[in-house]
């Protein structure tokens, strides 16, 4: 198996070939294509929620109460007579936003930390990576719950806390990438022209490590979304009046005996989105030929 860096180095010779190859390989992977299409649909649907949702977010009809799916309410209504489809569309905005923003936080910290450690090497590298090792050993799930308890259930803190957990793997992958890229001739050439290390990192090294980072970003988003749903289910994540898929599942589980659709539709929304992201991530990994340490 050829290494990713080998492929990525070729990219310098013929800029588009790596990405064209990858796209062709991805298109052959039907599951990944289905995942990508489903994902685009979900993202479009939730971003357009205020325009396409059949009812207002806070519209309730206490006289109606919980009703099974019907022509007027495709996914049924909850005990307050709120339209479930509308709730799912708005909840999805939060679930996806948490997934993307927390992953972005993780990506920024992880890429910076990993590339500095990998580029500097030596003692700096040893200290920085030992720090990562120690954090790795901490039981983070318990810590996030603790943070949510101690500082109240605040969304910004949730983004930061989840992002702060997920950057560790990113930093490790980035460091390995940078270490091997650093040995390449083009980096040596850049160094010899007198460019500063920062410019070399941002202009020459990081762009060449983009493949693996895309793959791990795609695979991190579903695990972040799962974490958010987990916390919301326990009542420690998103708080009403805002809603998320995890919170909807938690409400649904309470009344599933009488109104099973309140559990099934939000559950399906979450599972299908996670499915799409994971299939797309796996497909991208094969297409970009990144060997996985997550597997």
């Amino acid at each position: 198996m050829s290494s990713p860096t080998h492929h990525l180095a070729e990219e310098d010779i013929e800029a588009s070939s790596l990405w064209r190859d990858a796209r062709l390989r991805l298109q052959k992977n039907h599951l990944a294509v289905v995942g990508a299409v489903a994902l685009v649909i979900v993202i479009l649907a939730v971003s357009l929620a205020p325009w396409i949702a059949p009812y207002e977010y806070d519209a309730q009809d206490l006289n109606l109460g919980a009703t099974a799916p019907s022509a007027a309410h495709w996914f049924g209504t909850d005990i307050f007579g709120r339209d479930l489809l509308t709730q799912i569309l708005y909840g999805g905005r939060i679930s996806l936003a948490v997934g993307f923003i927390a992953t972005a936080v993780a990506l920024i910290i992880g890429v910076s930390w990993g590339s500095v450690a990998g580029y500097c090497g030596g003692r700096i590298d040893a200290v920085m990576m030992r720090f990562v090792d120690v954090l790795y050993a901490l039981p983070f799930m318990i810590f996030i719950i603790l943070l949510m308890v101690v500082f109240g259930r605040n969304m910004i803190l949730l983004f930061l806390a989840i992002g702060a957990v997920e950057w560790l793997t990113m930093a490790r992958i980035m460091r390995t990438q940078v270490q091997s890229l650093k040995q390449k001739e083009f980096v040596e050439a850049a160094t010899s022209t007198g460019l500063s290390p920062l410019v070399i990192l941002y202009r020459h090294i990081i762009p060449n490590a983009v493949g693996p980072m895309i793959v791990y970003t795609t695979l991190t988003i579903p695990s972040v979304m799962l974490l958010e749903a987990f916390l919301s289910f326990l009542g420690l994540g998103i708080q009403p009046p805002a809603t998320s898929w995890g919170l909807l599942i938690s409400y649904g589980a309470e009344t599933m005996e009488e109104y099973p659709w309140l559990l099934i539709f939000p559950g399906a929304a979450l599972t299908l989105t996670l499915f799409s992201l994971n299939f797309l991530g796996d497909g991208l990994r094969d297409a970009l030929d990144v060997r996985g340490s997550k597997d």
């Binding site: 039981p139 719950i145 101690v150 289910f233 326990l234 499915f275």
Partner: protein
């Protein structure tokens, strides 16, 4: 090997200390004291309570006192349940959670390793795709969704199994164990498939096959030890995940275990209980990571040189 174990233990100590320190100060930094409850408490009573729980001395003294108690294995009294110590509450929940965890892990290992081996023996055939698609479903279907669905189907519609409790009714341990274990079965299936695929392409496996060894002999006699190293290394992190997962599963099935106590303590703002449980669970997790690293190193001598390998 002994050197490896000692070094890994030495690495675990700062982690445990960091956990204790961070948790202690986080809990103390929390806005709102434990006695700022709904009922107005008389100032004298509040003062007496604070004296009883040693909250009236400087923070550093509280911290040192806590460390000293901890060294004796004393996690202090519970704020919420006067007269009960955190130790007692933990001791009543631990056996339940441990039992649940063991069942879930056995289920996960059995199903996961079996599926992984089957898939690796015939890669890119139906025998590979079917278990791996199921594994993907297992990963994407969170326990807090799977649990209620299992209850709905097997408990309410089919009425085959009890829907809650622990040890009261026959069969009430089945659904929680499956709910908790299935995601790990899925991860283990993927790990053992990848591990077995790598081992099965080695020369010594070809030699074994050339000598006429059957599939089962190749797998059990030659490939399993090497192929399962990723699974063994995953057991430490999996244990941590099982504990976190037990928060949800114990809440769903109303099981009186550690996870349920932790979530209740979190809602009750029972600070000593939160602190004690966090410290206790963290130490357990660090110990299990250590054991799984040592086991992996025992199975694969190459790992012994990589001291910093944490996954």
């Amino acid at each position: 090997m002994l050197k490896f174990i000692l070094l890994r233990m030495a690495q675990a100590i700062p982690v445990v200390l960091a956990v204790i320190t961070v948790t202690f100060f986080l809990v103390r930094a929390a806005p709102g004291g434990p006695f700022d409850s709904e009922k107005a408490v008389l100032p004298e009573v509040k003062k007496a309570l604070e004296a009883q729980y040693k909250l009236d001395v400087p923070l550093t003294d509280q911290y040192l006192g806590y460390l000293a108690d901890l060294a004796d294995g004393d996690l202090g009294p519970s704020f919420k349940y006067p007269g009960r110590s955190v130790n007692e509450i933990l001791a009543s929940g631990l056996p339940v959670t441990a039992e649940l965890g063991v069942y879930a892990l056995c289920f996960a290992l059995f199903i996961g390793v079996l599926a992984g081996i089957l898939a690796a023996l015939r890669p890119n055939t139906k025998q590979d795709y079917v278990p791996m698609t199921l594994a993907m479903i297992g990963i994407c279907m969170p326990s807090f969704l799977l649990g209620p669905i299992l209850i709905l189907v097997f408990g309410i519609y089919l009425e085959w199994l009890p829907i809650s409790g622990w040890g009261d009714l026959p069969g009430d341990k089945i659904l929680p164990s499956i709910t908790l274990g299935s995601a790990y079965a899925a991860y283990i299936a993927r790990l053992s498939r990848a591990g077995m695929l790598e081992i099965l392409s080695q020369d010594y496996i070809r030699t074994a096959r050339a000598k006429g060894a059957s599939d089962s002999r190749v797998v059990f006699k030659h490939a399993l030890r090497g192929g399962l190293i990723p699974v063994i290394a995953f057991l430490g992190p999996a244990f941590a995940g099982l504990l976190a997962g037990s928060f949800v599963v114990e809440t769903i099935f109303q099981i009186p275990g550690l996870g349920r106590f932790y979530v209740q303590a979190a809602f009750n703002r029972d600070y000593t209980m939160i602190l004690g449980t966090t410290v206790f669970l963290s130490v357990l997790i660090v110990i299990f990571n250590l054991i799984s690293d040592v086991l992996a190193a025992w199975m694969d001598p190459r790992l012994r040189t990589q001291f910093s390998k944490a996954k």
